[in-house]
């Protein structure tokens, strides 16, 4: 009986994993199948023209801008906020409420963030429709993800490490960046990778704050179009699935590179990676 149950569960575990992999393969496969024909040097590096299909280079640049800026702002704030909630704040009602609110905000549709950004960053702060306004909006979108995953990662660091370090006369801060954060790095990293995904995959919040100008941005105060917004526009209005899929291929490659980079950087930061 027990054995049967074990085997059943084991079967379910295998099944789920296979299912996930199958989904992965089908989706990625579909995107490649639909889009690979459009991929060419000119498609990627050419200049955008509204008549031809290609020239997504400005959008690649814009996409990278938004990712980098959003992460540069959201990662430190998110991690430090999580550190505060987990390591400094008294674990009471207030912290619980903050956590609760944070979690609940992950479920707000991004278009609402977009409208907020359009009112607050674009109009009130007079940033205009710009990469920076979009990045700030995206920062708010990914903050909950980073905070929550970092908190979880911090929780898993054994208490003995903290004691050991403090007993050696290290300050809380030293303990934090020498022992705790390195030990929590894998968890934090997964939060960052999820955030990259969230940023890259976002469209509604971006086109309301950065607009859809299909030209090379001159600065982070320029209005511009990310790859995802581009693919959104072409599916929404033109129904050009091949083009959307081709953009998807480019995005997958970008994410792949960024994820590897993030892993690499965290390994570098984390000398305590044994």
């Amino acid at each position: 009986m027990r054995r049967f149950k074990d085997n059943l569960l084991r079967g379910l575990l295998w099944f789920s994993a296979l299912l996930t992999v199958a989904i992965l393969v089908v989706i990625v496969g579909y995107i490649f199948f639909k889009g690979f024909r459009l991929i060419s040097l000119d498609f990627i590096f050419g200049d955008y023209s509204p008549t031809g299909g290609g020239g997504i280079w400005p959008m690649i640049i814009t996409t990278i801008y938004t990712i980098v800026i959003s992460l540069l702002i959201a990662t430190p704030i998110g991690i430090l906020a999580a550190v505060y909630l987990q390591e400094y704040a008294k674990q009471g009602r207030l912290v619980k409420m903050i956590r609760f609110a944070t979690e609940s905000l992950t479920g707000i549709p991004s278009i609402i963030y977009g409208l907020f950004g359009a009112v607050f960053f674009v109009a009130t702060l007079k940033l205009g429709m710009s990469i920076i306004a979009a990045s700030l909006t995206l920062t708010i979108i990914v903050l909950p993800v980073i905070i929550r995953t970092t908190e979880e990662a911090l929780k898993t660091v054994p208490h003995q490490y903290r004691e050991g370090s403090l007993a050696l006369g290290a300050t809380k801060l030293q303990t934090l960046y020498k022992v705790i954060l390195p030990s929590a790095m894998p968890g934090i990293l997964s939060g960052i990778i999820l955030s990259i995904g969230r940023i890259v995959g976002e469209s509604a919040a971006i086109f309301l704050t950065a607009g859809t100008v299909a030209a090379m941005p001159e600065s982070i105060f320029s209005s511009a179009r990310t790859l995802t917004v581009h693919s959104y526009l072409v599916t929404q209005e033109a129904g050009d699935i091949e083009l959307a899929a081709a953009i998807g291929i480019v995005l997958i490659v970008i994410i792949l590179v960024l994820n590897l980079l993030a892993t690499f950087i965290s390994k570098k930061l984390n000398k305590a990676d044994y």
Binding site: S49, P50, T51, E218, S219, E237, G239
Partner: protein, 257 residues
């Protein structure tokens, strides 16, 4: 000021920048116009396709110099001092799956289909198949125009109809469903769907201009007079010129002449 958001403009070697935002239906057309206009003029045109309402709001608040709309202005919007210029017309065509044998409908039949009075293609001389109605979202310019001309209201629209956002989505939905019927702009017609004659009249630009084909709506540029720069005015003039209108025709929209 009308250009407060365009710090980029000053970085750009003193080029004038015209910022335009709004309808995703007008957007592609405006992009092509701008693309051609910029080749000869020392000007930088920013086009943001963010939806008619957002574009109108931007035109009012001054975030954008010009708003693009594919629907008529609401009274409140007019009150805030917006001017409008029709830059083109957009023909709307009823589309079905290519396998569908039905290729001609009367306006009344269209109305009955969209209000749920006719529910099977059999009733229209087609196969014995349930009709799946595909419409745009409430507030959409195409939908407003379509309903007004066909003669039913949003409240009458059959409740089980699929609501798709954007021409592209209607096209994809209809192209993948033998039961479906929907409506899209002329610009997006291709071989993945087949078009339906209305009252025996083919959906072409000439027929619209000759007022034989009734399903069309205007594409608008909206702006506040005092926000409009010389460069902006010149761009509008260009669009209205024969040269500009030629481009309008090229893209599948209907020129003013």
């Amino acid at each position: 000021g009308g250009n407060n958001e365009n710090e980029a403009g000053s970085l750009n070697e003193g080029k004038d920048t015209i910022s335009i935002s709004g309808s995703t239906s007008v957007g592609p057309l405006a992009e092509k116009l701008a693309f051609n206009y910029e080749e000869n003029q020392d000007v930088n045109i920013e086009i943001n396709q963010i939806g008619s309402s957002a574009g109108i709001t931007n035109a009012i608040s001054g975030v954008s110099e010009i708003g693009m709309s594919s629907r008529d202005l609401k009274p409140e919007e007019k009150e805030s001092g917006l001017d409008e210029t029709v830059i083109a017309y957009d023909g709307i065509v009823v589309v079905v799956h290519p396998s569908n044998k039905v290729d001609n409908l009367t306006t009344e039949q269209v109305k009955q289909i969209f209000t749920g009075k006719i529910t099977n293609w059999k009733q229209l001389g087609g196969d014995d198949k349930e009709i799946v109605v595909v419409s745009r979202e409430d507030g959409s310019g195409s939908r407003d125009a379509f309903q007004e001309i066909v003669g039913y209201t949003s409240g009458e629209l059959v409740k089980s109809s699929i609501i798709a956002s954007g021409n592209g989505n209607i096209k994809t939905t209809v192209a993948t469903n033998e039961h479906a019927i929907g409506f899209i702009s002329f610009e997006y017609i291709d071989e993945s769907i087949s078009t339906v004659k209305i009252n025996g009249v083919e959906a072409t630009a000439e027929n619209v201009l000759r007022q034989k084909y009734s399903l069309s709506r205007p594409f608008l540029f909206v702006y506040k007079k005092d926000h409009l720069t010389d460069a902006g005015q010149q761009f509008i003039d260009y669009i209205l010129s024969p040269e500009g209108q030629a481009i309008v025709s090229e893209t599948g929209a209907i020129s003013l002449h």
